[in-house]
């Protein structure tokens, strides 16, 4: 328990004196993970609702695929993206390897199936309720998708938060495509891995506590915003 105690003290001290290095790492973590989640949500939410709405051959296979890809191993995604972005790879000329942009792409790939799969389930459940009504109104598939996303927005917020959790907690992919370069691509998880490998276990644990607090803050903020929107809606 002593380790946890000293880590908590360390974490508190770092936050209290607004350690500039920690601030930089936290801001980069937020920037990367929030960008990735935004990107994944812009694609994943309509995609999930579309798969729920539109009938097409192979739809069940797509559903299974989306569900299975929720468990994509980060280190494999990192490796695949590395081979694409490497100077010897097909996208090497872009020079994106070892940049925050590469990290955003990696996390977006990881988060996209989570958001799409959960959004599809939400949309499917809603559609069961609405189907007849929508059909009697003669809604086009696009209109249906829009209605489902709008009416499911509060459940979909949880979906997006689940995606954020996956992005913020992930270390395997960003380590490979980001390179953990100080200060360009070092985020919370890679900093924790580095301090662990330097044997600074209390510091690593302290950083972990800060990361958990950060995720808590993001989730709390989302819930507060949701409730505010709900209240103003009524």
């Amino acid at each position: 328990m002593n380790d946890f105690g000293s880590a908590a003290v360390l974490a508190f001290n770092m936050v209290a004196r607004v350690d500039p290095e920690l601030t930089r790492i936290v801001l980069l973590s937020l920037r990367v993970s929030l960008s990735a989640v935004t990107l994944a949500a812009l694609i994943g939410l309509p995609l999930g609702a579309a798969v729920a709405t539109v009938r097409f051959p192979g739809r069940r296979a797509v559903v299974v695929l989306l569900n299975a890809f929720m468990g994509l191993p980060p280190v494999v995604v990192g490796l695949g993206l590395y081979l694409l972005l490497s100077r010897s790879g097909p996208l090497g000329a872009l020079g994106l390897l070892f940049t925050p942009t590469a990290m955003v792409l990696a996390q977006a790939v990881l988060v996209l199936p989570v958001i799409a799969a959960l959004a599809r389930q939400t949309a499917t459940d809603l559609l069961e309720e609405y189907d007849e009504h929508l059909r009697s109104l003669g809604a086009t598939p696009l209109q249906t998708i829009a209605v489902l996303l709008w009416d499911g927005r509060f459940s979909l917020l949880t979906t997006v938060l689940a995606g954020f959790g996956r992005a913020a907690a992930e270390v395997g992919a960003v380590m490979i495509v980001g390179g953990n370069i100080d200060p360009v691509t070092r985020v919370m998880t890679t900093a924790i891995a580095l301090e662990t490998s330097r044997g600074n276990l209390p510091l690593a644990l302290a950083l972990g506590m800060v990361l958990i607090a950060l995720c808590l803050a993001v989730n709390a903020l989302a819930v507060v915003l949701r409730d505010a929107v709900r209240r103003s809606g009524h």
Binding site: T38, S86, R87, G92, T196, S197, R198, G199
Partner: protein
């Protein structure tokens, strides 16, 4: 809602673009976990950046992985510690020229109660033989790093093929391997830089050192722009020139932890 979504999207793109557009002058250096974990780069790089305005971005991997990175063209400069591999890298046309920079040594560390009885030996191969005979747990890097290659050479010198439950390759960096050894009370081979700055030694101590075969030389190579045209040859060369310059060498030699130097500059030693 739609407007808000749009605002978020635009903000995201602006954030993404922010870093990419900034006109920064930097090089990528593929190096080893030992130079990163020991804190060397953090100590020496600010002086170089202040002098030249060139930012140095270090990607720390095991030597084998760092070499592979440079071969693919993903680094401008390679800074590692396994001379035969470095010379092969240049001979195969991936690098321009290898320059020696600094050295330190490997140490055999293990639990203080020393079940294999190797403490005080000056023959590292003899020590490994005793560890194998006692079947005392030994943790290996197992990651094709410079330290792993040095360890393999020592087993060969000892004429022992390390297999069995007592021999445990972790496939990870020096730090994680030391964490494992500390937790298991196992022996391992470590570079002195990482060892001295490592903070989780627990019951581990240096048991064998000083064997000539434990010598650990670091070399630096510019990636060959003839093979990878995007290599920042001028800035990369400026970094190499600085590392082997009197100023660079002095700053490397001055870096230490708890008053003990971790690396000894020897760029002037031809053939090192």
């Amino acid at each position: 809602m739609v407007r808000r979504l749009l605002a978020v999207a635009v903000l995201t793109l602006a954030l993404l673009a922010g870093r990419a557009q900034a006109d920064e002058r930097f090089i990528i250096v593929a190096s080893t976990t030992s130079t990163e974990d020991s804190g060397l780069f953090k100590a020496i790089l600010p002086a170089f950046t202040a002098r030249t305005g060139i930012e140095v971005r270090v990607v720390a991997r095991g030597t084998g992985q760092a070499i592979d990175l440079a071969k693919r063209g993903d680094a401008d400069v390679l800074f590692v510690h396994h001379k035969p591999s470095e010379e092969a890298f240049v001979a195969e046309g991936y690098g321009v020229e290898r320059r020696p920079v600094m050295y330190n040594d490997f140490v055999l560390v293990g639990p203080r109660n020393d079940p294999a009885g190797i403490h005080g030996l000056t023959d590292a191969a003899e020590a490994l033989k005793k560890i194998a005979a006692a079947k005392a747990p030994f943790v290996s890097r197992g990651d094709d790093s410079g330290t792993h290659k040095a360890e393999a050479a020592l087993w060969q010198a000892a004429n022992v093929d390390p297999v069995g439950g007592w021999y445990r390759p972790t496939g990870s960096g020096m730090g994680p391997t030391l964490n494992t050894a500390a937790a298991m009370g196992a022996y391992t081979l470590a570079d002195r830089g990482t060892w001295v700055s490592f903070a989780n030694k627990r019951d581990l101590a240096v048991l064998v050192q000083g064997d000539r075969r434990l010598f650990n030389q670091y070399g630096v190579i510019l990636a060959n722009p003839a093979r990878h045209p995007h290599v920042k040859a001028a800035d990369g060369q400026a970094f190499i020139d600085w590392l082997v310059s009197p100023e660079g060498q002095r700053i490397i030699g001055a870096y230490g932890v708890h008053g003990a130097p971790l690396f000894f500059p020897n760029a002037d030693q031809t053939g090192a």
